[in-house]
């Protein structure tokens, strides 16, 4: 519970260390180059290609996360069954393992000699090191964020409202779209934004599974790494852009989650 008192000076002092530590590097990112130069470097072919690729892939990955994650979130929210805890842990796993490890895992499953990949290879379709691989890596890493948020959103909807809708003649499908989703909307939107932001910042898994090919698999984040070797200014510009996008995502997610408390009738 937030206190109405003013914080003591000692508390301010103690907190300031971490605040400065976080602010300093982020500020450096934004202040090192004057805005004019920043924009100019963002217009370089490398930056534009990376931006376009990131936008395309993250949108597809987020859409897939929503389509595939919604049924799972609803299942976890509404039903208890054997193995539910296992499923729950499984969904959390991509968040906790190192992204690079996730990338290696993707290779082992879908690479040319992988578990599933070898069969795809026979058909002439190979996904590793293609744009599809970028989407796959982003989907793996980012979908748990959506599922968790969506699940919490569904759990917050009173099941009595769903029961009332059923007695009024609505099929379970209709109940979902006319009662559950509208009431879970703030959480669902917040989940979408979080998943998108995570997909955008994805690096390790993408690097391992999709590689770093400009125009094909070089996302904004990978571009920063490459640019650092040759073109520092572009690296800084792209980094600043990424920071800006992260900020936008964070503010959007917070505002949507803030509208969580739907009026209870």
């Amino acid at each position: 519970m937030a206190s109405a008192e003013r914080p003591p000076a000692a508390l301010w002092l103690a907190s300031s260390v971490l605040v400065v530590y976080i602010t300093l590097p982020l500020a450096a990112l934004l202040l090192v180059l004057p805005p004019g130069e920043l924009l100019e470097h963002l217009r370089s072919p490398m930056a534009l290609r990376a931006l376009w690729l990131s936008v395309k892939t993250t949108l597809v990955a987020t859409l897939l996360a929503v389509l595939l994650g919604t049924p799972l979130a609803y299942l976890l929210a509404r039903f208890s069954f054997r193995g539910r805890d296992v499923l729950d842990t499984l969904v959390d796993l991509p968040i906790t393992i190192p992204p690079v490890v996730a990338g290696v895992a993707l290779l082992l499953a879908f690479g040319r000699r992988g578990l599933l990949g070898r069969h795809l290879d026979v058909l002439g379709a190979s996904v590793a090191f293609t744009t599809v691989a970028v989407v796959m890596a982003q989907l793996l890493i980012a979908s748990p964020f959506f599922v968790k948020a969506a699940r919490a959103g569904f759990e917050s909807v009173d099941t009595r409202l769903e029961a009332a809708a059923r007695t009024l003649g609505a099929s379970p499908w209709r109940v979902f779209w006319t009662v559950t989703v509208p009431l879970a909307r703030p959480a669902l939107l917040s989940g979408v934004v979080l998943a998108w932001a995570r997909a955008l910042s994805e690096f390790g898994a993408t690097m391992m599974f999709a590689g770093n090919f400009p125009g094909r698999t070089q996302t904004l984040t990978l571009a920063v790494m490459t640019a650092l070797e040759s073109d520092l200014e572009t690296a800084v510009a792209v980094s600043a852009l990424s920071l800006g996008l992260a900020l936008v995502a964070l503010v959007a997610a917070k505002r949507m989650a803030g509208r969580w408390s739907v009026p209870r009738a």
Binding site: R160, A163, R174, P263, A265
Partner: protein
């Protein structure tokens, strides 16, 4: 089986709780379910609505089987056309009043315009005209209840289920809403099942009252029947009476009726076997010593509790069974009443009613 009526005969086990009941509600009749918390009243409603599946039984309305375990029939809630008004109304917070009421017709395929018109009609009928485009947060408890009722009725149900209609209302509103609701239900023509925690509500709204205790029906009847001949602890307490199940011996005149550890002496020419013994607490006299006199029933016991009532004291005693005795405050003072003290209780045989 009455045409258009609700017929219920089902049983279900939920964990350690077992529920089983058999009753019928005619079209236009209101049956009030009353009983202590946890008795299974809401379970009964959920079974009728199809939100719960019975382990065995048959539930039918208007001749149509909604559920028949023997025949493998179980209609889902949306197929049953049942109007359920929840205790806290379960109104949709993201919809306006009219959209709430129109939800049923919309769900059953009516166009937005037709559903809206039907909703407006019901809102008018329930005195809520003018509130159609309002959101829910500004409405009073009584208004919300009527919106919930309108919503249930707009879906053209074949039976009406009300779960504690006054639970969410404050005491002041309750009285006027109660009489309005009674008049409305009478004119509805639907079989109505109503759950009430407060027996006063049950008696006011129900044409008949069914007493549910620990998952089973202990008594069904009009409220006069219930108060005149209680057949369970809940109703007895309601009527402020002592009630015991006893085994009445055969013969005529004064005879013995064993109720657990205690043997009463009663006048019951017409009855033998398992019966109910009922007498009022005011028929029990208390004394420090057993006094010679006419009462045939004199028992030693201990005071368990002394409850102050507005104009007297109710003394709960353990005489082998638990018995309540009413005495004046003066009498209580002269007896030196306190929990734990030993007393003698006496009841006249003529004061004890015996029935089956």
């Amino acid at each position: 089986m009455p045409e258009g009526g609700l017929h219920f005969d089902a049983a279900i086990a939920l964990g350690a709780f077992r529920f089983e009941a058999d009753f019928t509600v005619s079209a236009g009749e209101t049956l009030a379910l009353v009983g202590p918390s946890g008795a299974g009243k809401t379970t009964a409603l959920e079974l009728v609505a199809g939100l719960l599946r019975p382990d065995r039984g048959r539930i039918a309305c208007g001749g149509e089987a909604w559920c028949d375990t023997a025949g493998g029939v179980h209609r889902s809630p949306e197929e049953r056309h049942v109007g359920l008004v929840f205790q806290d109304y379960a109104l949709f917070p993201h919809l306006t009043v009219r959209e709430n009421v129109a939800y049923g017709p919309r769900a059953r395929g009516r166009t937005r315009a037709a559903a809206g018109a039907s909703a407006s009609g019901w809102l008018e009928r329930l005195g809520l005209g003018g509130l159609e485009d309002r959101r829910l947060d500004g409405l009073s408890g009584g208004q919300r209840q009527r919106v919930a009722l309108a919503r249930a009725l707009a879906s053209e149900p074949r039976a009406l289920l009300l779960d504690e209609p006054f639970g969410a209302l404050d005491v002041a509103t309750r009285g006027s809403v109660r009489s309005q609701l009674r008049a409305f239900l009478a004119g509805c023509g639907l079989p109505t099942l109503l759950v009430a925690h407060d027996p006063v509500d049950a008696f006011a709204l129900g044409d008949r009252v069914a007493v549910l205790e620990q998952g089973g029906l202990t008594q069904v009847g009009t409220h006069e029947e219930l108060l005149a001949h209680p057949r369970g602890a809940f109703v007895a307490e309601l009527a402020g009476l002592n009630l015991f199940r006893a085994d009445v011996s055969g013969g005529r005149g004064l005879k013995e009726a064993r109720a657990g550890a205690v043997a009463f002496h009663v006048l019951a020419d017409e009855r033998t076997g398992t019966s109910f013994l009922v007498f009022a607490p005011s028929d029990v006299a208390l004394a420090r010593e057993p006094r010679p006199g006419s009462p045939q029933n004199v028992f030693p016991g201990r005071v368990v509790e002394v409850q102050p009532l507005p104009d007297r004291l109710r003394v709960v005693l353990d005489v082998g069974v638990t018995m309540a005795a009413d005495v004046t405050r003066e009498a209580g003072a002269s007896l030196g009443l306190a929990p734990g003290i030993a007393l003698w209780a006496s009841v006249k045989a003529t004061a004890i009613r015996v029935y089956g």
